[in-house]
Structures are given as C-alpha cells and as structure tokens.
C-alpha cells in the first residue's frame, strides 16, 4: 500500500473569512485517517498559468464527514486563482505530506505562537489536543497580525476555551506590539512550570520565537513555509540549512522542525 496518493477532491464549502482570507472545505479525501496536525496537502490548481502544485497546511479534518479544511490568504497568482474557485469545483490533492507536530505531555503548559497566515496548522493542533482531552486552560494562544483584519477565526479560537492573547502591530485589536513580548512575560511568570512552544508564521517571528525557546531552554516546534515544487522530497528545491550542518528538505524532513534545529 502506498502512503501517498493523488486524487481529485471537491470544494464542499467556501468561506471568505475576511478581506483576502479564505477557507475551503474539501472532500472526499481517502487518506483522512492518516492526517495529523502540522501536515500539509499539495494542491494542483487547474489553470494554464499555474505549473507547480501549491502547499497548504491542514487547518482541520473531519473523519466522519471525510472533509479537510485549508485556510489561505491571497498572496500571489496561485492563491488568487484558488480564491476564484467555487463550491463543487474540483482540485487534485496529493497528501497528507510532511512531518506532523509531536504532541506535548498533558502536564505541560502550551504556548501557541501564531503569526498572520501561520494560523491554520496551529488551529488544527489545538483542536486535536482539545479533542484528545488536553485541558484548554493550559493552552496560551498567542496570535499576532499587522492589524485587526489579520486576526481571523476569533470565535473559533474562543470556542476552544483556550487563553486567547491577540496582538497587533498597530494595536487595533488586542495588545499592541509583537507576540514575543507577552510570550516572554508569560514565560517569566511561570518559570517553575514545564512548557512547550508551537509556532508558525512569518520568518522574522519564527526567528524571534526560536530565540525565545533557546534563551529560556523551552522545547518546542516551529512549522516552516517554503516554495515547494514537488512536496515529496524529489526536487531538493525547498531546503533549509541545519544547525548541525547540511540541509533538510522543508517538504519531507519538515515542515515541522524542533526549536534550535534549523538556521533561520
């Protein structure tokens, strides 16, 4: 039995979350039981001007309904065309791909560090933890964006009963500044507790979160983004340098890496 297959998948629900942010719910996905938070799907967008597949982190899965969800922001040609697709349109999907997050111990305090469109894999991670019986009160959900318009799916986060800490650079929603400031305060206030960090977001934020983890000796994982022609480790187009030397492929050695593992 092969672990990875490609198949056609239909859009069953499309939502315009806010401005350029969209959610697509897709089905049927035969490998749904294999999906884990941190993994991604590689979508072929049927358009003459798009050659490569595009990688999207899983934002949620529903095994009973056989659906997967992706959330994206219109950024370039691929996402612009994808945003024009409607219910009942189909795409070809390859996946699930990549290394998933390692779940924390149930006793640990969990610091989620989401930045901008780095939210989706962390939404899935937290939803899965809540489903598995983790106490949502031990989950501190830091979520940063440039302005209020970049903080999407607020009700969905609140419904999970986690401690929600929105942060915007212009102060238009939540605390003003960057998420690493309140995160560092949280770390200092809870020095006695064992903690884990999970993060996905823009490169600058990941770098700061990575340094925070190293500074206070807190383990954790970060999910990287990279243009991926193949998504399955064939082309070597998406490599990142490792601290121990050599390269890792973001698509199949990642996209999830331990804090301190890659050179950012």
């Amino acid at each position: 039995m092969t672990k990875i297959i490609s198949e056609d998948i239909f859009i069953v629900k499309k939502r315009n979350l806010k401005n350029d942010y969209y959610s697509l719910v897709l089905k049927p996905f035969s490998k749904i039981e294999n999906c884990q938070p941190g993994q991604f799907v590689h979508l072929r967008i049927p358009s003459a001007s798009i050659f490569f597949r595009r990688a999207f982190s899983l934002a949620d899965t529903n095994a009973e309904k056989g659906t997967i969800e992706i959330i994206f922001k219109v950024f370039g040609r691929g996402t612009r065309i994808l945003s024009s697709f409607r219910k009942s349109d189909y795409l070809n999907v390859l996946g699930p791909l990549g290394v998933p997050f390692k779940l924390p111990d149930k006793k640990e305090k969990v610091l989620i560090a989401a930045g901008g469109i780095g939210l989706p894999p962390l939404l899935y991670l937290v939803a899965e933890m809540v489903k598995k019986g983790y106490n949502p009160e031990t989950i501190e959900f830091f979520y940063g964006g440039k302005t209020a318009a970049d903080i999407i799916e607020r009700n969905r986060i609140k419904k999970m009963k986690v401690n929600f800490h929105p942060v915007t650079e212009d102060g238009s929603f939540g605390e003003k500044g960057l998420i690493t400031t309140p995160m560092e305060e949280m770390i200092l206030e809870n020095k006695a507790e064992k903690m884990k960090i999970y993060s996905c977001g823009p490169e600058g934020m990941l770098k700061a979160v990575n340094e925070l983890g190293l500074k206070y000796g807190i383990e954790g994982q970060i999910s990287l983004e990279a243009p991926m022609p193949c998504g399955i480790g064939l082309c070597l187009g998406c490599v990142v340098p490792l601290v121990k030397g050599g390269h890792a492929r973001v698509c199949c050695d990642g996209p999830v890496f331990d804090i301190g593992e890659v050179v950012l």
Binding site: R44, G233, L234, L236, G237, C238
Partner: protein
C-alpha cells in the same frame, strides 16, 4: 495480445521505455513510496560527484510558463556515501539502475566511474557533461566536441558497462557533439539536458534564483528537445534516450517516432509523481489501437514531408 513495451538499449533489456530523469527522484527512496519502482524501465539517479555537495542557496527553483527553472547546483551525497548507503536500496529494486555522474575535471569523472565499475547492481552510467548550473565544468565539457570525446574515452577505459552521454542543448550544433560522443566510444546518447534561462522578480529587481540563472525544463522545452532528437537520430547510429518535457504517453510516442528508443521523465514527476504508471498504461492502449505488437515499431518512424 498485450502489446510489448520492452526495449533493448546497448544489450540491456528494459521492461518499458520509461525512466526517471536525473535530479528528479533523488536515489529512488521517496518515489518508491508512491509506486513500486518495478513499474519503471529504469531509474536514473541524481548526479553523483566525487565529493558531497550541498548545492546553491535557496531560492534554487522557480516556476515559469509551462515549466520550471532550477539551479540546485548538483547537491548530492558524494560517490562513497552513495555506494555505501544508496546502492543497497537500489539493488533491491526490480528496475534497471543508471547512475548519473558529474564532475569538474576528467580525472574526477574517471575516479567516480572507476568506483562505480566495482558496484555490481549498476546497469549503466549516464555522463552528465551538460549541467548548466556549475561554474567549474559540466557544460563546458559538453559544449566542446574535443572535450566531449576525450572525457568519454577516458571514462570508457575504467567503466566496463554501457555508457550514456547526456548532451546539452546549449550548443551551436548538438549533432556535432553527438558525433564526438560516438567517436569517443559512448554506447548511448541521452538528450536534452536543460536550457539555460532565468527569471527576474520585478519588485526586488533580483533574479529568482541565487545562481542568477538556471536550467529550464518541463513542457516548455519539449518542441526543442524533439527537434534535437530528430536531428541526432538522422546523423548518429547510437541509440537515443529522449528527454524534455515528457508528461504523457502522447509525448513518449512523439519522441520515439523521432528516433528515441526510450525516454526519461523529469519535471512531470514533481507535478504528478505517479505519472510513469499512467503513461505505461496509456502506451499499451495506444499500441493496441494502432494494432502494433511492440513499442519498438515506433522508433524513428516519423513520416516526414518530402
């Protein structure tokens, strides 16, 4: 009767004419998770060099219209690690194993091929004398007929199995280079390698590749590759492996009609990794429709206008 997809190249029998192109499936492990490699006639490895190489910094790939640019920079584990760690896996696969070899001096090509000669599971070596992405050699061998002949002759002395010369399209006359390779003792020709190209980001005014240029591959280059296969077939006796933008059974038929005995599939694997399985199936259907018993009936049978 099921049509026969078997082809024979330089005395080596391939179960079908479909191979992977170098640099498009590493050393085979990842692709074997998608489909059994026995579905391939042959597997061509990523270029192997004497010493390990990390390749160029990213970005080292870029999307173009109907194709891609790459400047990976021959990232590979080096010949010693390849033999120790990759060959055992490849030896277990029920497909022909072709090792692509790159170098920056004739001495380096010879040294790598001498070591591969002692490695029994290897069926053939494909000499990459045409990589556009390294400064020190590669393409400069393949752009000069004398250097082409000299490097092939030197490798033939140390490698006793069939040798494929992989030709560059970035030359004035590919026929001249093909004839030089034949003169040097090559057993097979494979063509074409990628075409030199680039793309610029109009916001940053920087090239989309840190190497500033790269190799163009994918469907965009197929018509050029076909014309070159046709030209070489008319002027050389050696069997040809066609390469360039192959993504369907129809593409394979075109290359074979122009004179290719087999083909290598490259960039298409990045978009649809199980494409060789579909192509093999579609080829059988095509042959059945055309009432042909063997795929070899296609080779060089293009009906040209007078």
């Amino acid at each position: 009767m099921t049509p026969d997809l078997k082809v024979v190249i330089a005395g080596v029998e391939f179960s079908n004419p479909l191979m992977t192109a170098s640099g498009c499936c590493g050393y085979g492990e990842e692709l074997s998770e998608i489909f059994p490699l026995s579905k391939l006639g042959g597997l061509v490895t990523k270029s192997i060099t004497l010493h390990p190489r990390l390749g160029h910094p990213t970005p080292r790939t870029a999307e173009t219209s109907c194709g891609m640019l790459n400047a990976i920079g021959l990232a590979n584990v080096g010949v010693d690690k390849f033999i120790a760690e990759k060959i055992p896996f490849l030896a277990r696969q029920k497909t022909k194993i072709i090792v692509n070899v790159a170098g920056s001096t004739i001495k380096e090509y010879v040294e790598v091929c001498a070591r591969l000669n002692d490695c029994e599971p290897i069926d053939m070596v494909e000499l990459n004398i045409s990589c556009p992405n390294v400064d020190e050699g590669g393409m400069e061998f393949g752009a000069d007929p004398k250097m082409t002949e000299k490097s092939i002759r030197a490798v033939k002395k140390v490698f006793q199995r069939p040798l494929i010369a992989k030709l560059s399209p970035n030359v004035t006359s590919i026929v001249e280079i093909a004839q030089a390779a034949e003169q040097g003792g090559a057993d097979v020709l494979s063509l074409i390698n990628s075409l030199v190209g680039t793309a610029i980001d109009i916001d940053t005014w920087q090239p989309r590749l840190t190497n500033n240029k790269g190799g163009l591959t994918g469907p965009a280059i197929k018509p050029i590759a076909l014309a070159m296969v046709d030209a070489v077939y008319s002027h050389c006796k050696l069997p040809i492996i066609g390469i360039g933008g192959i993504a369907s059974a129809a593409d394979v038929v075109e290359f074979m009609l122009c004179g290719a005995t087999a083909v290598e599939i490259g960039t298409a694997l990045f978009i649809q990794p199980d494409i060789p399985v579909k192509i093999a199936k579609d080829l059988k259907t095509y042959l059945k429709d055309k009432k042909l018993t063997s795929i070899t009936n296609l080779i060089g049978k293009v009906r040209k206008y007078k």
